[in-house]
Each structure stands twice: as C-alpha cells, then as structure tokens.
Amino acid sequence: MAEFSASVYQNEFLPDGGTDVNAIVTITCQGAGTAGQSGSGGAGEIIIVDTSGSMGPATMAAAKDAAQAALAEIVDGTWFAVIAGADRAMLAYPQVSSGPGMTKMDAQARQDASAAIGRFVGSGGTAISTWLDLAGQLFSSVTEITQRHVLLLTDGENRERPGRLDEAINRATGYYQADCRGAGTDWQVAEIRRIAQALLGTVDIIPSPAEMRAQFQDIMRKAMARGVADASLRVWTPQGAQVLFVRQVSPTVEDLSSRRTPVNPLTGDYPTGAWADESRDYHVAIRVPAKAIGQEQLAARVQLALGADVVTQGLVKATWSNNSELTTRIDQQVAHYTGQAELADAIQEGLAAKAAGDEATATTKLGRAVQLAAETGNDEATSKLRKVVDVDNEKEGTVRLKRTIEKADEMALDTASTKTTRIRKEPS
C-alpha cells in the first residue's frame, strides 16, 4: 500500500498588514508498487508512433526498434495497444474491428505487436488530434482500466485546421496521461508541450535516432512504476482568502492554477496524475485578509487525495508579527522555486523573442535566464543555455546570442526549460 507524506517549507510570519503567504509543499509517495497491480483497477498503455511520410528511413527504423523495446517493458497483464499515426490514426495492434480495442500483455501479444510495429511504413500527413481521439476511444473500450498512459512519438509539425488539436487535447485532459517525444528538429516544441502539459506528462527532444530506444524504455519503466492510479492535490483555503497560484515546481514547473475543480466553496482539486515512488514539490501562494499582530491562522490545508480519501496533509500557516527579523526572512525553498519558475519563463520568452526576430528582448531574457540558472544551481539549464548564447558575465546576466545555433540545441533548451533542480531541505 502506497504511503504519502507531506512537508511544508515556508516563512509563516507576516508583517503587520501582510496578506500573501507562500509555501513549498513536498509530497512524497512510497510503496507505490506497479501500475495496475494495486487492486484499484487495471492499467492501460498505448504507444503512438508517428508513421507520416516525413519519418525518414533511419528515424522510422529507430522508432520501430524503440517501440518494440517499450513493449518489453510493459508488465504482463497490462492492457495495451499500438497506434500508427499519420493524417489519420490506425489501430496497429490488436487488430480488431469490434469489441475492446486493447488486449492484455503476454508473451504472444508482445511478439504479435512487435511484428505489427515491424510492418510500419511512413506515408501521409500529421493529424495528431486523430491520434489522441483514437487513444481515448481505445481506453474507453475497456471499462476495467483506471490508469491510462500514452507514449507519443512524432517528428513533424501538426498539419490540421487550427483548433482541432486543442479540442482533442481538451477531450483527453483528465482522462489519460501522455509523455511526448519529438524526433529530429521539424516538430514544434510549443505544440507538443501543450499536449504533454495538459495530459500531465513530459516533453523532450530525441535529437538522434540512436537515443530513441533508451528514451522509450525509460518512459515505459517509469509509467509501469506508477502504482497509484490517480491523485489530486486538494487545497483548502479559509473563507475570504484567494488562491494566487498553485504550481508544481519539481520535478518540472507546471502551473496548475487554471486546472482547479471545486470540491466545495473553500476547497479545490488540482490534477496530479499517477504516482510512482517519488517526491514532488508544489508552490502555493495564498492571499488572506490581514489580522492583528500576534494572531495565527491557517492559510491553506494542502492535501493529497486519492478519490475521496485524503492520504496526507500539510498545513500552511500565517502568523502576524511585528518582529521584522521574523517577517523579512524568505524561505530558501520558496526563493529557490520562485527563481526556477522565473527561469522557465525567461527561457521560453527569450526563445520566442529570438524566433520572432526580436534580438534585444531575446538577449535580455536569455541573459536573465543565465543569471537565474547560475543562482539556483540549475546546471542542466546552464549548459543548455551556453549552447545558445555566449556568456560575458554570468553574475550580471550579460550575454550575446550565438550567430550559429544548432536547431536541436535550441529545442533541447526549450523542452528542458521547465525542468527544475532541488536544493537540500532543512525543515523550516
């Protein structure tokens, strides 16, 4: 049985008249087990491989190999299916025309599915909305599946009437999770990130076919380790308070604020998807009406809920004090993740400005990003930034845009922008 725990990092002391409370809540899951084995329902896995005509022979060969390797990671007994995606989606395995569109994994199914993948041929365009919709239909054809995960690989830009993809994303949101990977450099990071963020998954670039196999194996292993099907971050705030934002800040930055589902007038749920043995950090910011010096009150109860059951809770507090030594202190965790969130924004805005030809803004934003990455010890961001800019002064954030940049490096910086680092924690 999975066990959850929560710890809160914050400076609870507010000055006279202070209203805004910031806290980092770390939620840790232990003993998650294996997907579909915890008794709360079956797990379903769908592998979607882009089979449009843009997939070159080398990429296609690598994609087939990687998809077959991913099959090997799917635990026997797990419901699965394979979709070949082009300008429409085709159910490649199981090859059925009626009844459930998924089958349970065993040695024979794995062999047959591998063979089906081996017959993939690239042709046609890219209509990702049809892929997402077919995945949803397949999941819904097996009622016992409660944990739904998709691995999606594409290599090109979506070629559909604007809005179609967003509609499909909306239909899938809250129903299944998706980890998305882009092969090569012809796909749009922003487009695929939109899918991954809405579907509570990750996005990354696979610049060379050789890396595909390891990436697929890794994604599928992680998916199979998520033994806790679906959980929500439940946030209670007192009457008269306002939730400024709720953000996941580790392992990646994801703003959940707009994804609130009300539970009651004071409580809302934010989706977190499935959990493996892992730890995630959330940054909650609450505005409460100021109280008199010396008063203490609860600003938020931050809980993890599995269905209706609350499995852990962290308390975010506010205490008004006239001791400026207490009230001016900024919690290390809050400062760190505030910097990491700003870093993600600076990278994305900098790259967008660069793409739009606004070099001045790009230089300022990416310079700020270099500064923040250094300050917050985000070495991955630092090394990826250095492939896009020449750094004159890291501390000051003065940089020059490189004249020639590998497209893949720029995309890698973009996809990695939301990844955060952690700092050592001392309970506050």
Binding site: P238, Q239, A241, Q297, L298
Partner: protein, 378 residues
C-alpha cells in the same frame, strides 16, 4: 495514555492532546504525608487550633467539563482535527490557552492567553453552589512569565487552593475576631496548598523556578472574604454606587501609591509590574493579606489578573467597563472583559472571574451568620 476527551493515544509526558487539544492529566497531586506528623513548615504545623472540621453539606463540586471541542471563537465554525477552524482557518486555542468555567449560572470566568502573548500563564479555578448567592469561590493565579513552566505551576496552584476552599469558611468560636482568625487560617492553608503544588511541579534544578501571584475571593451570602499575594486583584462592583478594589497589591507600585505617588504614575512607572510577594520555590513570605466585608447592593464580585486591570486599574474605571456591557450573565461579562483587554492590546494573559450578587436572591437569613452558626436575626 489515552486522551480522555477524544481517545487518541498520547505520550505519557504530554500536557495537551495533539489531536483535540484537550488538557491532559490532573495537575500534580501534592503528596500528603499520611499518618506522619506534620512537618515543621506545614501550615498546620503548630497551629493553636485544630484544622477546622467541616460538614460535607457545603462541599461544592467542580464545574462541569465542556463537552467536545468549542466552536471557532472567530466565526463560530467547526474546528477541524488539526485544531484550525474549517471555515476561517483561525487557530483554535488549546485548552490551556483559553478556557472558561461556569460552575453555576451566576458564577463564571474566562482565562485567556491574550493576543500579545505566546503562552497562558494565568490560571483560574472556580466553584459555586447551584443557588444564586449561595456560595462561590474564585481563585486566580498569574504565573510569572520569566520563570520556567509557570503555566503548569499556576494551574496546579489554583486547583490546589480550590480544594482547600471547597467547604464553607469557618465561623470561628463565637466572636468576629475568632471568625476572622479562622478565615485567615483557611486562606493561609489555601495559599500554602497552592505554594506546595507550585513547588511540586517545579524542576528542582530550574534556575528560574516557577512563581505566581495568588488572589482568591469567597462569596457566602452577603459576605465577601478575600486573600491576596502579588498583584492579581478582587473588586466589588455594585450596579450603582461606589466600586471598591478589595485586595491590596503586593507591588512596588502599591508601595509608591502608599507613599503618595499618584496611581496613574505608579502603575505606569518602570517598576509598575514588580511584585514584592509571590508563590514558588523562592518565595520568602507566603502569608496572604486577607479581608472581608458585607455587601448591601446587587453587583459583581470580580477576581482578575493584571492582564485585565492594566487597562482599567481604578475601581471606577473597572466599574465603568463592567456597567457598559449591561449584562447580568457572568460568562458574557467575563468574555466581554477579556475581549476588551485584548482589544486594548492584550499585552498580558487575561483572567476575569465573576460572581453575580443579586440582593433579591438573598433573604434576611442570608445575612452573615453569627459566629457559632446561629443566625442572630431571623
């Protein structure tokens, strides 16, 4: 051990239940040396008279315990298991930080941490007979804040004194002088019991042993008797007419007032809160000043800590505040006085214990019995 209020398991050393906030355990019981001769420092050691023998008829029961968790003091909402209000998030005070007692409809008190303090070192213990005007005991102790565990000590002391005052005050041997001497003796016993309890819960190695003030008032019919050590106070506040401060502080401020300094000056000076007598391991003199008087009109007997009187020290000011509330319900008045002190800054723990005296409840026979127990007129 398990919490008697909610049944959760709590560590044996816990003073409060982690899950419901209820106060745990009884204050340390003062060991009685059964069978052994009283030690030399025993209050009855070589007293000229025997300890008063008392009929059990006057025995007063403890006030009933409040059932369950009180609703949120801020908004009236339900308080969650994490001790914060489920509606407004206000932290519910622990049973030690804020408690109320109402042993009878006409007697009640509130003991509150105050918004400016982090711990409630005031303590209160009340008793009352059911019939209005019959018999009430108000005990207030104010733990001294720079001493260790003075919150535990003050409550232990207040409850120990309450035990002594549970039975009616003695009437003496037939003369007012002998009655006064007997009452004085009982109050001395109550103070000694409080002191013993305070010392018993004090860590013997503590460099800052717990100490506390002591103020008790007993109402029996029309007669009020009081005893005092330190600067907690008893007031008599008639509904109209001249209010009185009954007890006399043992404080530097009081000494200054007696030497001619104006009250406002003395009570706001640098030594305003320095007390010259206290209870505790380092106490030098624990004989209380004692007094008594008969009341003729309806009004309030108030025993309080300096957390209240700091803002309205003069009897007239206290009376104005009491009369302004316009209530004759003691719990309402106690809450109002505590709220007033908090609104005035709440710089120190606040205790207000009140007994309502209504002369219409008191027949002629309730005039203080003549010593010897035979009513003189009636």
């Amino acid at each position: 051990m398990t919490c008697p209020s909610c049944g959760s398991t709590v560590p044996d050393s816990a003073r409060f239940c982690e899950s419901c906030g209820a106060q745990l355990g009884q204050p340390a019981v003062v060991p009685a040396a059964a069978g052994a001769p009283p030690p030399a420092d025993h209050p009855l050691g070589d007293a000229p008279i025997s300890a008063p023998t008392r009929k059990p008829v006057g025995f007063l029961a403890d006030p009933p315990k409040a059932a369950g968790r009180r609703p949120c003091g801020e908004c009236g909402g339900e308080v969650g298991p994490d001790l914060y209000c489920l509606a407004c998030g206000t932290k519910a005070p622990s049973e030690r930080d804020h408690f109320e007692e109402q042993p009878a409809s006409w007697v009640a008190g509130v003991c509150d941490k105050a918004i400016g303090k982090s711990r409630n070192e005031d303590a209160m213990a009340l008793l009352a007979g059911e019939a209005p005007g019959s018999r009430a005991v108000l005990v207030v102790l104010d733990g001294v804040s720079n001493s260790v565990d003075s919150d535990v000590a003050s409550l232990a002391g207040a409850r120990a004194a309450r035990e002594v005052l549970r039975v009616p005050l003695p009437a003496g041997m037939g003369t007012p002088e002998s009655r006064d001497a007997a009452v004085r003796k009982v109050f001395a016993n109550a103070v000694a019991a409080a002191n013993t309890a305070i010392v018993a819960v004090t860590d013997p190695d503590s460099p800052n042993p717990a100490s506390a003030t002591f103020s008790a008032a007993v109402l029996e019919g029309r007669r009020i008797s009081w005893a005092n050590i330190g600067d907690s106070r008893s007031y008599w506040i008639p509904d109209s007419g001249q209010p009185l401060q009954l007890s006399v502080d043992d404080s530097v401020a009081q000494e200054q007032i007696e030497s001619g300094v104006a009250r406002e000056v003395a009570e706001t000076g640098p030594q305003a809160h320095a007390i010259t007598k206290w209870l505790g391991r380092d106490a030098e003199d624990i004989v209380p000043s004692v007094g008594s008087r008969e009341v003729e009109a309806s009004g309030w007997l108030l025993t309080c800590s300096d957390g209240l009187w700091n803002y309205i020290s003069a009897p007239e000011a206290m009376a104005a505040q009491v009369r302004a509330t316009g209530t004759t319900t003691p719990l309402d008045l106690a809450q109002a006085l505590v709220a007033f002190a908090n609104a005035s800054g709440g710089h120190d723990n606040i205790t207000a214990a009140l007994a309502r005296v209504d002369v219409s409840d008191l027949g002629q026979n309730d005039r203080t019995p003549t010593p010897g127990g035979v009513p003189s007129d009636g």
